[in-house]
């Protein structure tokens, strides 16, 4: 099943490659990976989505936790959480008809058109990965998708729970 692992680590050179290394060395999949410094610039927060059963996920979290640069690891899917992903998607808009249809779908999915060119729109949409998939599928029915880029999932636990040093 899909799991979202959240990692708090030192914002140090090589830290990311060590984490990715754990996945590749031990044969685990990475479906998406999202990483950036936190409000405290000495720390980075990383979110990995992967497909794994309970036994494998236990090993993954333990192996990641074992890395010297890692402060905290949690499996967000264990409890209530919020998750979001952002996608930028560029679609062809060569006719009035297509433009109208794309606009309608942008409204329905509460997306935003952030760049307009003679022949295409670039749209920003956020939500769960499922919503992003659905939006891309809908667009593909009425026009051609030129390219898309997704950030990968990032998430936080609901309520008081938090990953802090």
């Amino acid at each position: 099943m899909k799991r979202i692992i959240s990692v708090l680590m030192e914002n140090a050179p090589g830290a990311l490659s060590r984490i990715v290394g754990v996945f590749s060395q031990r044969g685990y999949n990475v479906d998406s990976l999202c990483v950036a410094a936190t409000d405290d610039k000495s720390l980075s927060r990383l979110t990995i989505t992967t497909q794994a059963d309970d036994k494998v996920i236990e090993q993954i979290t333990k192996q990641v936790n074992k890395l010297i640069d890692v402060l905290k690891v949690t499996d967000l899917t264990d409890g209530n959480h919020v998750e979001r992903e952002l996608m930028l998607i560029k679609v062809a808009t060569r006719s009035e008809l297509v433009r109208a249809e794309v606009n309608r779908n942008v409204d329905i999915f509460r997306a935003q058109i952030i760049d307009v060119d003679l022949n295409n729109y670039t749209i920003q949409v956020t939500g769960t990965s499922d919503k992003l998939d659905a939006f891309a599928n809908v667009l593909a029915q009425s026009t051609e998708i030129i390219e898309a880029s997704r950030t990968g999932v990032c998430g936080l636990a609901r309520g008081d729970k938090a990953l802090r040093p």
Partner: protein
């Protein structure tokens, strides 16, 4: 504050950390550091003949002392040559620090001469690594490296030092770091009290308990505590290949090694136990055989300092994260006074059963009038060293014979590459041992295959006057490969023999040592006598043994722990 160059800081930090020996090989990127070494006498440098040898020497040094071994090599090939040695240390959790030179910072990434991404290359086989970017950071990086290497679950740490930051011409303020703790690194040493309570209860209630001890007990210096638990509860004790010596192999309660080539009594007792206390062992595939069939009746208590080792292969019932010494102490406290007679009485049936298994004397073998048996060679080494030598081993049949026929009464006496199984480990490891214990007897048990993998170090032995005793079991073949080919490949000896063996006696002599060839069982005792009488010189014993001897007992693939072959014809 004292001003000095980056190179001087490297050496000064080593001195301030109490490092006495560095095993290494110079080259372009570390010439500044070598120049700094030249100017002092606190840190002794041992010049090896190949960087892999340096890593194994540091490893043997660490295993026999418990202190961290140190390696110093240049960038590129110097660094990559240590990788097998680093991986060997990593698999067996041995503390080691590798100082590797690197091309100047401004040339990193340019594919400069002798450039390698050492931090990247070594990443999967190190506990941690540092690429130092400023000279002033050198003391802290090195001090942290030693701290990380020898705390928690020990392991190798790489410190990569670009040439520009160790430049002897630029001086910087030197400050030895007072504190090297890190917010992201806090190994758990004490067991959780709740788990200790549960474990103690299960242990006291058990009718067929066994203590399964591994290398973690040696790393934690917990031999005495392990013995105390075993004696208090009158437990049978079995040991992994890495744990030999943690509990005395000559103790009446010792069942010897377990696993693939373990004794019958060990594997039987494990399989039939109702409670297994695993202290610093990791249930690896060379122990468990088929995990599906592993010890079906046992409640398993697993004590390990590394949470990731727990339930990795075998799901355990009572996990305890902590170091073996701390947890052993806690267990002893929790159990309080145990009526020793009552306990003995309770385990009487269990011990009776174990004695029956012991009665099958699984280590018996047939001697021969003309051919030397490998087992008798090991027994002869035991006799001539009074069982008190440091024994380093290479990898193969001889390693298993040594593990089975040389019982170790003390920890840190048995030095072998258990996890990675590195041929070529034995000789350099024994050299590291001898550097740390100049007056002790340092023996290498090796074979004609393994010894040729780092034989160049015979030259280093002469330079540093290391009177190592090399016991080479020469069967003119890669014995363990040949054994498997006998068992599984209809004796088709694909690339498992060498028909161009050197004259090892002449070879030893060419390197300035003594070589002795032994062909016949009748010569063995006298030859050993002569070998161990040579206190000042290295002796290379080229012992021609029976080529067809197999290592038994041996677990049968896919079976339970106790499904074993006892000889070429007998099974359990």
């Amino acid at each position: 504050m004292e001003m000095m160059s980056g190179a001087a800081m490297v050496v000064r930090t080593l001195k301030d950390l109490g490092v006495k020996h560095v095993f290494g090989y110079p080259g372009g990127a570390v010439l500044d550091i070598y120049d700094a070494l030249y100017a002092q006498e606190d840190v002794e440098h041992i010049l090896v003949r190949h960087e892999q040898g340096a890593a194994h020497m540091a490893d043997g040094y660490a295993r026999s002392t418990g202190t961290t071994g140190t390696v110093l090599v240049t960038s590129g090939p110097g660094a990559t040559n240590t990788l097998t040695g680093i991986a060997t240390a990593y698999m067996d959790s041995i503390p080691m620090v590798i100082l590797s030179g690197q091309v100047p910072s401004m040339h990193i990434g340019e594919d400069a001469f002798q450039e390698t991404d050492m931090v990247g290359c070594s990443r999967p086989v190190v506990k941690h690594s540092f690429l130092v970017k400023r000279a002033v950071d050198i003391p802290e990086a090195i001090a942290k490296a030693y701290y990380i290497a020898n705390t928690g679950r020990p392991g190798p740490v790489v410190v990569d030092l670009p040439k520009d930051i160790v430049n002897v011409l630029e001086e910087h303020p030197y400050q030895f770091p007072e504190d090297v703790t890190m917010r992201s690194y806090n190994p758990t040493l004490k067991g959780h009290p709740k788990q200790i309570k549960k474990a103690a209860k299960v242990l006291l209630d058990a009718k067929r308990p066994i203590l399964y001890v591994g290398g973690g007990a040696i790393a934690a210096e917990a031999s005495e505590l392990v013995t105390e638990i075993a004696e208090k509860l009158h437990l049978p004790v079995t040991s992994t290949l890495m744990g030999l010596g943690a509990f005395s192999g000559v103790h009446a309660q010792s069942l010897g090694m377990l696993g693939m080539h373990g004794t019958l009594e060990s594997n039987k007792a494990m399989h039939n136990a109702d409670c297994i206390l695993a202290l610093g062992a990791r249930f690896d595939d060379r122990v468990t055989n088929n995990v599906e069939k592993f010890c079906p009746h046992a409640t398993i208590i697993h004590v390990d300092i590394d949470p990731a080792s727990i339930s990795k292969t075998v799901a355990v019932h009572i996990p305890v994260v902590g170091s073996v010494d701390q947890v052993a102490k806690q267990l002893l406290e929790q159990m309080g006074d145990v009526d020793s007679n009552k306990q003995k009485e309770k385990l009487a049936d269990w011990w009776q059963q174990i004695e029956q298994w012991r009665g099958r004397t699984c280590l018996n073998y047939k001697k021969d009038d003309k051919l030397i048996k490998p087992q008798e060679v090991i027994q002869s080494v035991y006799k001539h060293t009074n069982g008190d030598a440091y024994v380093s081993s290479d990898v193969g049949q001889h390693q298993m014979f040594a593990a089975l026929y040389y019982p170790f009464a003390k920890p840190r006496r048995w030095i072998n590459s258990g996890g990675l199984g590195t041929m070529g480990f034995g000789l350099p490891a024994a050299m590291g041992v001898q550097m740390a214990h100049r007056d002790a007897t340092s023996v290498v048990i090796t074979g004609d295959g393994s010894i040729q993998m780092n034989i160049q170090e015979l030259s280093t032995c002469l330079q540093y006057k290391l009177p190592i005793k090399i016991i080479s079991l020469n069967n003119r073949a890669l014995g363990m490969v040949r054994q498997w080919q006998d068992m599984n490949y209809k004796s088709r000896y694909s690339s498992s023999y060498m028909d161009s063996m050197p004259d090892f006696v002449k070879l030893a002599e060419a390197y300035g040592h003594i070589g002795i060839r032994v062909d016949h069982p009748d010569q063995l005792d006298a030859a050993m006598e002569r070998c161990f009488a040579e206190k000042e010189r290295l002796v290379f014993m080229d012992i021609q043994i029976d080529q067809n001897e197999h290592v038994y007992p041996m677990q049968i693939k896919f079976g339970a722990m106790d499904d074993m072959r006892l000889s070429k014809t007998e099974r359990t």
